[in-house]
């Protein structure tokens, strides 16, 4: 998206030239096809490295936590919602930030694109007008962007940054509110089926913690899995410990997860990590009428209460 890239560079150039920020965090071209990669620009002459395309999949809010400098972030919808939560949790101050907001058209699921090519290696990608041209040794194929968006992008209801200091593209069309159909579908299965599915997914987990490390809201100095006194959860690939890791990480993100999908995208083994987070997103909305990351004024659901909170789940013989 060359126009967006230009506007991002313009904004970054101006900010650095006027010494309004010390650092611009954005994306630059990756070293292999289908990848764009986080980029840290501190000098005006490096501004032209910044780009915007369908592969800017990382959540850059991750790189803001506890920074002392003034930072500009090139944030798409979900990144900015994570920023809102980080501000509320005092991990960065609003005054330090300059938000270059990018209304997002969704990011392309590179693994699904690769799978479609069925083993043929993609050596070059070019993007125009909603289509991706994939070239390799002896082949060239065109695929539609829309068809290959990440699942979280397909259910995203906040493509437009909720706060920003400048917007570098026209507003993106927002989908209707999230009806959490995927969660309802899973809930409709039997308990046994759900356990089966999750056991199978967790059996793929290699405890690399990429999911946790990619998540902007996972910023604890010492994560619960690293504790040894007390040891909350074993560190091996034992099935029970792996399940507990995912369950408790999801629970620690209850009311804090912005459903950006960074966890799922980081996972090398394709574990369906968001399955648990989605359930909590739905419950938090249904029970406490709260959607994460929409406003600096909304208090996180587990930091507050209402005397009349629903308690139908309780045992009352």
């Amino acid at each position: 998206m060359p126009e967006v890239s230009d506007k991002i560079r313009e904004a970054a150039r101006s900010l650095l030239r006027q010494h309004k920020v010390d650092l611009v965090v954005g994306f630059e071209r990756g070293s292999i096809p289908l990848r764009s990669t986080p980029c840290f620009v501190r000098r005006e002459e490096d501004v032209d490295r910044l780009i915007w395309d369908s592969f800017c999949e990382n959540n850059l809010a991750k790189y803001l936590v506890k920074r002392a400098e003034r930072v500009a972030i090139v944030g798409k919808g979900c990144d900015v919602r994570a920023v809102v939560e980080l501000i509320k949790e005092n991990q960065i101050s609003r005054e330090q930030l300059f938000i270059i907001g990018v209304p997002c058209q969704g990011m392309v699921d590179r693994r699904r694109v690769e799978a479609k090519l069925d083993g043929r290696e993609i050596l070059e990608v070019s993007e125009t007008d909603g289509e991706l041209e994939l070239k390799g040794d002896g082949f060239s194929e065109i695929v539609s962007r829309e068809e290959f968006l990440y699942p979280c992008c397909k259910t995203c209801t906040h493509r437009n940054p909720v706060i920003s200091d400048v917007l570098v593209a026209d507003a993106a069309a927002e989908l209707d509110s999230d009806s959490h159909l995927d969660v309802a579908e899973f809930e409709a299965r039997s308990a046994g089926e759900r356990w089966e599915y999750l056991s199978r997914e967790f059996s793929k987990c290699i405890r690399c913690y990429a999911c946790r490390n990619a998540c902007p809201l996972c910023y604890c100095q010492e994560c619960f899995v690293d504790n040894s006194r007390p040891q909350w959860v074993g560190k091996s690939t034992d099935a029970s410990d792996v399940a507990v890791f995912h369950i408790m990480r999801a629970f620690h993100l209850a009311g804090r997860c912005v459903d950006c999908g960074a966890c799922e995208r980081a996972c090398p083994m394709g574990v369906d990590i968001r399955k648990l987070n989605r359930k909590l997103v739905k419950d938090v909305k249904a029970r406490f009428d709260y959607e994460t990351g929409l406003s600096l004024d909304q208090v996180a659901p587990l930091s507050t209460f209402r005397p009349d909170d629903p308690e139908e789940f309780m045992l009352d013989p």
């Binding site: 089966e196 029970s240 410990d241 408790m248 029970r287 789940f313 045992l315």
Partner: protein
């Protein structure tokens, strides 16, 4: 104990808040009210103190059911501990059921210091439900 063995007795852990439910349990005892003896009690200062990990760790190590009791809303000794707990447990219970853990294994209830009868009833109901489910298997950590 083997699944379905007639001699199997459920192991149930009850986290009781010091000011209300633990006192309620005490009252049940001094009133000589009978209730199933499968429950092991752990006293906590407030239901809000309960780290969800306690429940998860219990399930991992073969506890068949967990019960958490606190003061009725509005009566918390620390004013709002039980309100926070209520939100936490609502989400935790939903999540545990969602992953396939049987609905009745983890229960939450309000019991006040004056409710000896109610405490016994809560225990009895919870025990029945857990007994019906059989020994806990999902999430149990098995030796390598």
């Amino acid at each position: 104990m083997m699944v379905g063995s007639k001699d199997w007795k459920p192991k149930i852990l009850a986290f009781l808040c010091n000011w209300c439910s633990y006192a309620g349990a005490d009252l049940a005892g001094t009133s000589r009210i009978q209730y199933p003896a499968n429950v092991r009690v752990i006293r906590v200062p407030c239901s809000g103190r309960l780290n969800p990990f306690f429940i998860i760790a219990a399930l991992q190590h073969g506890i068949d059911g967990v019960l958490v009791c606190g003061c009725h809303p509005g009566e918390c000794h620390y004013l709002s501990g039980n309100y926070n707990a209520r939100r936490k447990f609502a989400l935790l219970k939903g999540l545990l059921e969602y992953i396939g853990l049987e609905e009745d294994r983890v229960q939450f209830s309000w019991v006040s210091a004056a409710e000896g009868v109610r405490f016994a009833k809560v225990i009895a109901v919870a025990t029945e439900k857990i007994k019906a489910l059989g020994p806990a298997e999902r999430l149990v950590k098995k030796p390598a």
